[in-house]
Symmetry: C2
Subunit: 270 residues, 2 copies
């Protein structure tokens, strides 16, 4: 909206950061500063470019910045920052990585991982409550782990994790079982037949030359197909799914909710 | 101007800071962000509240922030930061304190002190070149030291430093003589008679109850009277000077030039 006041930074403004390496590509400063501005929150988020060998020093410095409220964490720091936090939320603890850290008034770091919660909240916002659904999740990296955890937490009926390297899928399944011993979690093939929801949590689809993450020939129209890839908005997988008559769910829904969850977490008073 | 674009922070934006304790009162974020914005410089300056016991950690963190360009230093950190710099400019080296630090691409800190240069540049901008003038400088604190150094560097004819505690005035005079052995620098009474320029570099005049820093009864109309106090804009000293028919020089001229000099210094490529 053109009537919004510009960002006004004074000596009273609280400071937030996003740490990344590289940092030029991150969109968080634009998204979160817009969030602060539209809500009249006197805060600013700045990008901080830090390499892995400087991470500990930068975090030690953050501890002593009394007007710092917290920071967003992205590649390649999510796992290392989890180890440097004083306290972790449930998802962060289980997955062993965080993407948002709140700095308390006494300089302690409380971290948590919102990739999975963002995905599930985004699903619900689009009318796809995962509770009771049979779900095929493709991928076993950081995002897939977080989504697997959040889906189990949301009470899915059954979750199949499919990954090229089967051992990684098994590790994710074991992690989920440890937190939710009653959940039905298994590993399997990327065959979408018979599932209510199929989630692509791999990076396949970012490049036009990527193979499809699942066997789309076996997609049924009743299956909802979800992406976490944001660019392109319509991946080859989603295009195929639309062709098959499936309802599709875009990557940006996850990001939108993630931003809200991370910001609420960082802004929360102790 | 209303046509200016608001601050737009992206992953490419360079980050600057001002470190202070407390920090709420600092005006530098407003002034420097306006400077960046009007010139289309993709940079942002944020306030960082750090206590003396956290200073070393914060600076160690800054070294590893690859997109940090530098920082402004204010109370109470000017002397401590000078000790933590890798390299000091001439004024910073002599005075032993800095108010601006440039971070080089390899994480080194180059600091310098612009209080004095800002004052002298401000004088010149108002048509008062101190070269060849007889000057009475009142005060012997950090700002007075910086101004004494810069006035000597500017080639004044003679400089008298007056301070309640004479020993401090003598220390400042000795510091100036060490850098400019040929300069005529002495200590003396706060008697303005016979000087071309009188400078108040004490804080006397900020409060209405403060005594006058000089014996204004002995002010002559040909003497220019300068302040470094910004609020009130017309101190009791300046009001008296105007009454006596003197030309006066306001505190804000120093600040305006200081900002330009510090920003130019921090933005300079190596």
């Amino acid at each position: 909206m053109s009537t919004l006041a510009p960002i006004k930074i004074t000596g009273n403004t609280r400071v937030y950061a996003i740490i990344a390496d590289p940092v030029a590509q991150v969109r968080t400063p634009e998204v979160l500063n817009e969030y602060f501005r539209t809500r009249g929150i006197d805060a600013v988020l700045v990008p901080i470019h830090v390499a892995p060998d400087g991470l500990e020093s930068v975090l030690a410095g953050f501890r002593h910045m009394k007007n710092m409220g917290g920071f967003v964490v992205t590649v390649p720091h999510k796992t290392a920052v989890a180890r440097l936090c004083d306290e972790l939320g449930p998802a962060g603890r289980v997955i062993g990585s965080v993407n948002a850290v709140r700095r308390t008034a006494d300089g302690r770091f409380v971290g948590d991982m919102f990739d999975g919660a963002g995905f599930v909240t985004g699903l619900r916002a689009q009318g796809h409550d995962p509770k009771g659904l049979r779900i095929l999740l493709v991928g076993a990296g950081g995002a897939a782990s977080a989504i697997a955890f959040a889906l189990a937490q949301a009470g899915v009926a059954a979750l199949t994790i499919s990954n090229r390297t089967r051992a990684k899928a098994q590790a994710v399944a074991a992690m989920v079982k440890q937190s939710f011993p009653l959940a039905i979690v298994q590993t399997g093939e990327p065959d979408p037949k018979g599932y209510d929801l199929v989630v692509n949590a791999t990076s396949l689809g970012m490049k036009p030359s990527d193979p499809l993450p699942i066997d789309t020939e076996r997609l049924e129209p009743a299956t909802v197909v979800a992406e976490i890839i944001m660019k392109p908005e319509v991946t080859a997988l989603l295009a195929k799914a639309i062709e098959k008559g499936c309802v599709v769910h875009h990557g940006r829904h996850m990001l939108d909710e993630q931003v809200r969850l991370m910001t609420g977490f960082m802004l929360a008073s102790e």
